[in-house]
Amino acid sequence: MSLALQLDDLSKTFPVGKPLFGPAKAHVRAVRPVTLQVETGETLGIVGESGCGKSTLARMLVGLLPPSTGEIKIEGHRLNNANPAEFGRSIQYVFQDPISSLNPRKSIRSILEVPLKRLHGMNAEARRARISEIFASVNLREEFLERYPHEFSGGQAQRIGIARALAANARIMVLDEPVSALDVSVQAQVLNLLARLKGEFGLTYLFISHDLAVVEAVSDRVAVMYFGAVVEVGKAEKIFAAPRHPYTNLLAGSAPVVGRPLTPPEAKGTELPDPLNPPPGCPFAPRCPKATEICRDVDPPLEQMGEDQFAACHHPLDA
């Protein structure tokens, strides 16, 4: 199996309170060093709560943010951060808010033309043909091409966003909460469309969501993030059924499930640590029911547990 994506110690630190000249007063670590591989044709789900660094990670992968440390290899190559087009041809991004990802003053056709013209230098005739083809594959009628974004519902706008990503002809797609803004009945339509396109074009997906059930339904493997780090990685069908990390367990136990009685999840609080002043040791320790002395001192590394599961925990749960 070839690798679509290889991340080594990728991290991102944002300066805060930077004066006009001179160094910043403090730093926020939005993503702590992440090492991950994504195989070609795979769907890797990424889950975690708001602010845990999912979007920051995704924006680094597509070249919209320069990483602070580490490197990204896309299909074996390191890409130049100064040249977004280089990223654009191999990896594309589908945004959470479908409406705001379309320029309100541009017709749908002119939005879809940009990647064809800029990334692939197609002439007008070739563009016309390609746009018709792509539009058909996302189940939209060609008459929509001359309309403007505000005339579309969320679900339709998201299909247009997907069509734009397809137009770049990239083989990897980062889907950042692609269905969170959609109604459930439309959500399923878009998810099924994504699954079909993946097979049709041989795509690799990075599927980011806060919705565990959605991620489980679409992913081959899932990575769980907490406070900027990947704390557990494993097969989609196993990771929530048999979590090794207490945080994954808390997430799985909190998702409302028909037929499970309402009990407050076992956790001491819901507060995240202060990102400006992160505690030493495991960042989950203040909320973790299994925390001990070592947890408060040493940040656990991601280690293999079982056949294809990795977790960063000193006292992992039983398989």
């Binding site: 069908e237 409302p256 499930v257 009990t263």
Partner: protein
């Protein structure tokens, strides 16, 4: 565009300004071909002729030049210079603003500090200094006026650009291969042009005035060339003896500046999106009630009884039937779930109860809401205000919509109690602390003095719940209170609500789009689609055996944790627009069981075995109702 012109024409002052300005502009354009006397030819024999003299309609000035001719040529020049200054200021200022706003960071900092420095000088002094440095002359006056107006454009446009530069479509353009320059000109610029136009239309009048001011001081147009300012300046010495030489250009300046400003204000208002949606018309304190037929009779069952409620939005000619014949009732201590997709009418139903739907455009056109034997629809404002927050309380998705950002949470809780129950200060504080304890906020004694922004989203939602509990209401209406929260926080808020209703025996109307949440919290559930309730019954019955095809399909769409990777069932099509509902069953266009019969007439509710369903071919047959 036509809408813009309509809105503009509705503003009569702006219309008048527009007409006057058009006439002035038209005349100045036509000046070269009008049969006017040469403006600069002196004839001292005819000096200071009065208006309406033979051959000189407006008289002559101190050198015997024809005033009408000088006025029109001068107006032409003043307008041209003012417009040129406005365009120069707009182009340079907007370019600076766009660059600063788009690149942000240090670029933004350095540029905006420079702009701040320019703005720190008194405006007219700066213009004088620039002309002093460049030397007098019309061109230099133009440069000076443009220069002092650049900061205004730079600031305004920067503000707008910052908002746009963070929109996702800008990122998308980068990924589609566009460079910075192309993004600035093809993605950002089209979105800021309306703002530039507004800023220009509101400042061009002042720029004409400023140029006239410089010419008045002899720093702008040089003799013998006439512009309005220099005409005034030259007439200064004859102000008492021959006032018409001052009045004529003065009046013209007044007319131009007034008409431009009136039109400019009109343009600004017409382009304001809030005005378009009618939001600027002041909302009434309660929803307008215009019931077409006599309302159902009371006293109603349970603690809250909504009967055949109809709420509509009247926007122009369109009528949105947001809530259509909705009937719901809640017993004390019961939790009723209302589930449906966005736009199905859940929130409008909830807001109609206490007359909180914004009017205009909202109108309650039918039905009743009984609470304590009285019909709240059509109740006086004073009655509703007494009940709001006391007997019936709300929790919204965004806690900041009920919490004031600048007031400590303890004071807000105290205020909420004090409005309805006069209690002493010390007791109020203690009650506030008790409430925070009730909603399981740790360290309530110290948290009572926190501001909302010092708390996390989950904590704020708990404070909002505490606010709702403040007066021990009989009913809490919770509109998607956990939708914006993370799952771990949601689980805690849900179990808190569940405890509270058992401890305090409050009834909860819980609005959500999540079946998992309904299953865990609610005793009964009502499913809404296209403004109507399509199914109602106990949660257990409906989850086990949904009767309405929509309910069943909706449940199948929702992925549930623990089933592994799979294909999801989807409902084809889109939810209906409530201003254009299909005849008969609203779900028919998406229903796999639809028959011709379904689209003929509105579908009635079928009842039986404690359930109700609005479908001709339900998924399960309801138990026959026992004959009474």
């Amino acid at each position: 565009m036509t809408q813009f012109i309509k809105l503009l024409a509705r503003n009569q002052l702006a219309l008048a300004g527009g007409i006057i300005l058009s006439i002035v502009v038209l005349v100045s354009i036509l000046v070269p071909i009008l049969p006017l006397q040469p403006p600069d030819v002196t004839n001292t024999a005819d000096r200071f002729m009065a208006p309406f003299s033979e051959g000189h309609w407006l008289g002559t000035d101190h050198l015997g030049r024809d005033l009408l001719s000088r006025l029109l040529w001068g107006t032409r020049l003043s307008l041209a210079v003012g417009a040129a200054a406005a365009i120069v200021a707009a182009v340079i200022g907007s370019a600076i603003g766009i660059v600063a706003g788009y690149f942000g960071g240090t670029t933004d900092n350095v540029i905006m500090r420079g702009v701040d420095m320019l703005m720190a000088f008194p405006y007219i002094l700066l213009a004088l200094a620039i002309v002093a440095a460049l030397g007098p002359g019309l061109m230099n006056a133009l440069i000076a006026v443009a220069a002092v107006n650049i900061p205004f454009f730079a600031r305004n446009i920067r503000g707008i650009t910052v908002g746009i530069a963070h929109k996702e479509f800008v990122d998308a353009a980068k990924l589609a291969g566009k460079g910075h320059l192309t993004i600035l000109t093809t993605e950002i610029l089209p979105n800021v042009v309306p703002v530039i136009v507004i800023a220009m239309s509101t400042t061009i009048g002042w720029m004409i005035l400023e140029t006239a001011g410089l010419s008045f001081l002899g720093l702008g147009s040089q003799p013998p060339q006439a512009d309005l300012g220099s005409m005034l300046g030259e007439a200064r010495s004859a102000l008492i003896t021959n006032p018409h030489t001052s009045v004529v250009p003065g009046l013209m300046i007044f007319i131009i500046v007034m008409s431009i400003n009136l039109l400019g204000d009109g343009v600004r208002d017409a382009l304001d999106p809030r005005l378009r949606s009618g939001a600027l018309s002041r909302p009434k304190p309660t929803t307008t009630v215009a019931r077409q037929s006599s309302p159902p009779h009371g006293p109603g069952e349970g603690v809250l009884d909504i009967r055949e409620l109809e709420t509509q939005f009247h926007v122009g000619k369109r009528v949105f039937k947001a809530v259509n014949q909705v009937s719901l009732n809640i017993e004390p201590g019961e939790c009723l779930g209302v589930i449906g997709e966005s736009g199905s009418g859940k929130s409008v139903t909830a807001l109609s109860v206490m007359g909180l739907v914004a009017s205009p455009p909202g109108v309650i056109t039918g039905g009743a809401v009984f609470h304590g034997g009285q019909d709240l629809v059509g109740a006086r404002y004073s009655t509703l205000r007494r009940l709001r927050g006391d007997k019936v309380a709300y929790i919204f998705q965004d806690p900041l919509s009920t919490l004031h950002p600048l007031i400590r949470v303890g004071e807000q809780l105290a205020e909420a109690i004090r409005v309805h129950h006069p209690v002493g200060k010390a007791e109020l504080r203690q009650r506030a602390i008790d409430l925070l304890n009730d909603v399981r906020i740790p360290n309530a004694e110290s948290r009572v003095d926190s501001y909302p922004h010092e708390m996390s989203g989950g904590m704020r939602q708990r404070v909002a719940i505490a606010m709702a509990l403040a007066n021990e209401p009989e009913v809490i209406i919770a509109d998607e209170p956990t939708t914006a929260l993370d799952v771990t926080v949601q689980a805690q808020v849900l179990s808190l609500l569940d405890d509270l209703r058992r401890e305090h025996n409050v009834a909860i109307m819980f609005i959500t789009h999540d079946f998992g949440v309904v299953a865990q919290l609610c005793d009964r559930v009502a499913v809404m689609y296209g403004g109507q309730i399509v199914e109602q019954g106990t949660t257990d019955d409906i989850l086990a055996n949904p009767a309405h095809p929509y309910t069943r399909k909706l449940m199948e769409c929702v992925p549930e944790l623990g089933a592994g990777r799979r294909e999801l069932a989807a409902i084809p099509g889109l939810p209906p627009a409530v201003d254009d509902l299909p005849p008969g069953c609203a779900f028919a266009p998406r229903c796999h069981k639809a028959q011709a019969e379904c689209t003929k007439a509105p579908i009635e509710m079928t009842r039986g075995g404690g359930r109700a369903v609005r479908c001709l071919y339900p998924e399960t047959k309801l138990v026959e109702e026992e004959p009474a």
